[in-house]
C-alpha cells in the first residue's frame, strides 16, 4: 500500500459556521494503481487531495504515504518529504516563467541537491513529446504543452505517488484528451502510482479505479 487514509476528518470554522469538508474518509491506493476521485464541486475532493499530499493537515485521522505517518512530520520535514516523495499536477501549470522547459522539469531534483537521471529524463520527455521544446520558455507553449511540462516535472523525481487535481481543468476538450492520454501512457510505462481528481465522469473512466466522493464521504 503506497497511500492509506484512515478516518480523515477536516472541519473548517466553528459552531454555526462549521463546515465538514471531509467526514470520515477511508482510502487505500496500491502501488502502480491509477485511481480517480470523482465528485461535484464542494464535495470535498480537493480537500482530500490536499490531505493526501501533505499540503494541509486533517482535523483528525491519519494519512500514511510510503509507510510514513504524515502527522509525525514537522513542517520542514513534511516539505522535504513532499519534494522527494510526491509529484503534483494542478489545474494551473505553475511553471517558472524565466526558466526554460528543461530547467523547469529538473528544478525539483536540483532543489533536492540531486543529479537528474538522464536516461530516465529522456524517456519521460520523449513519451510526453517534449523533445523539441526543451529550450522554449513556458509562455511560448500552448496550454496543453505547458501541462505536459508540469507532468514531466512531477515525474522527474520518480515520486512514490503522483497527485493530479483537475489536470485538464484549464484545457479544451480536444487538448484534454491528449494530455490525459499522455498521463495514462506515461503512468503505465513507468509503473507510476497516480491519484487524479476530477468532476468529469468521462475523464475518470481513464483510471483503473473510480472512487466517488459526496458531502465529504466516500460513496
Amino acid at each position: 500500500m503506497v497511500l492509506k487514509a484512515e478516518n480523515i476528518v477536516k472541519h473548517y470554522g466553528t459552531e454555526e459556521n462549521l463546515v465538514k469538508a471531509l467526514d470520515g474518509v477511508n482510502l487505500e491506493v496500491k502501488r502502480g494503481e491509477f485511481a480517480a476521485i470523482v465528485g461535484t464541486s464542494g464535495s470535498g475532493k480537493s480537500t482530500l487531495l490536499h490531505m493526501l499530499g501533505g499540503l494541509d493537515r486533517p482535523t483528525s485521522g491519519k494519512v500514511t504515504v510510503d509507510g510514513k505517518d504524515l502527522s509525525t512530520l514537522k513542517e520542514d520535514a513534511l516539505c522535504i518529504f513532499r519534494r522527494r516523495k510526491i509529484g503534483f499536477v494542478f489545474q494551473s501549470f505553475n511553471l517558472v516563467p524565466v526558466l526554460n522547459v528543461y530547467e523547469n522539469i529538473v528544478l525539483p531534483i536540483q532543489l533536492d541537491g540531486n543529479q537528474e537521471d538522464r536516461g530516465f529524463m529522456e524517456q519521460v520527455i520523449c513519451t510526453l513529446g517534449l523533445q523539441d521544446k526543451l529550450e522554449s520558455l513556458p509562455r511560448q507553449l500552448s496550454g496543453g504543452q505547458q501541462q505536459r511540462v508540469a507532468i514531466a516535472r512531477a515525474l522527474a523525481s520518480k515520486p512514490v505517488i503522483l497527485l493530479a487535481d483537475e489536470p485538464t481543468g484549464n484545457l479544451d476538450s480536444r487538448t484534454s484528451q491528449d494530455v490525459l492520454g499522455l498521463l495514462k501512457v506515461t503512468g503505465e510505462k513507468f509503473g507510476q502510482t497516480m491519484v487524479m481528481i476530477t468532476h468529469n465522469e468521462a475523464i475518470a473512466q481513464m483510471a483503473d479505479r473510480i472512487i466517488r466522493i459526496e458531502d465529504g464521504k466516500i460513496m
Binding site: L78, K85, G113, V185, M206, A207, I210
Partner: protein, 284 residues
Amino acid sequence: MFHNRTLDHLDKMLSDAINGEFQESDYDETELSRLETKWKHFLSASQLSKNQLDKAKRNIEGLIADIAHQTRTPIANLKLYSALLEECLQKREDAVSDEQKLLQEMIMQTEKLEFLVQSLTKMSRLESNIITVNPQCEKVVPFVKETISLMEAAARKKQLVWEFGASNETCTAMFDSKWTREALENILDNAVKYSFENSTVRVFIEEYGLYVSISVKNEGIGISEKESSRIFERFYRSEKVLQKEGVGLGLYLAREILQRENGYIEVRSVEGNGAEFILYLWKG
C-alpha cells in the same frame, strides 16, 4: 568520532533493510537524509520487481495449466470422432449424412485446438519479447475498414449492422498494421461476440492533436464498473461469459500492442447497456 556515528547509522540502515523494516528517520537537508530516501527508494523498487516476477510466474503457471487443460478436450474429441468415422467408413453403408456431421465436428474441434495453440504461441512470443512492434505512418480509415470486412461473416450470423464514421477520412497515425490489426480484431471480435442479436456496432474514428482514436461501441451485455479495469488482465474472464469461447488473452494482447506503439485503450460501459472500447493511436 563523527565518522563513527555516520558509519553506525549506515550499519543500522542496512540491518533494518535486511529485516525488512527500514524507514527514514527524518527528512532534512543533510546528505544522510537524502541517502536514506534513496535507500528507501531502492528497497521499494527491488521489492516491487520481486513481486512482479512472482506474479508473472504465477500467471505463466496458470496459463500452462489452463491451456493444457483446455487442449485435452478437443484432442479427446478428435480421437473419438475419427474412431467413429473410421467405423462408419468400414461399414460402407449409406451413412453419408452421419459422416458429414462427424467431419463437421472434427473440423470444429480442430479449429478450437488451433485457436488455443495460436493463443499460446502469441503469449509465449509476447512473454519472451519476440514481438517487435514496428510503427509506421499509415492511414487509419482504410485500415479500419479492411479489418471490419474480416468480421463480416461473424457479424452476419448475429444479424448485426455496422455503422461507420470518421471525422477525417485521411488521418494518419504511427502504428504497426499487422499487430494493430490483431488488437483491433480482438476488440471487434468481442464487440460481435457480446452483442445482442439484430443490434448495431458503431465504429467511429476521431482525430485529436496527438492521437487518432478508433471507437468501437456495441449494444450488448456490457461490463460492470468493477470489472472494467480487470478485463485487461491476462486470463481474466468475466463470470457472465465463462461459457463463451476464449482464454482471456485478447484484451491483454490488445493493450500490450497499443502500449508498445505509445497508444492506449480506454473502456466505457454501463452494465447491460453495451460497451465502448476506444483505441488511441499515437500520431507521432
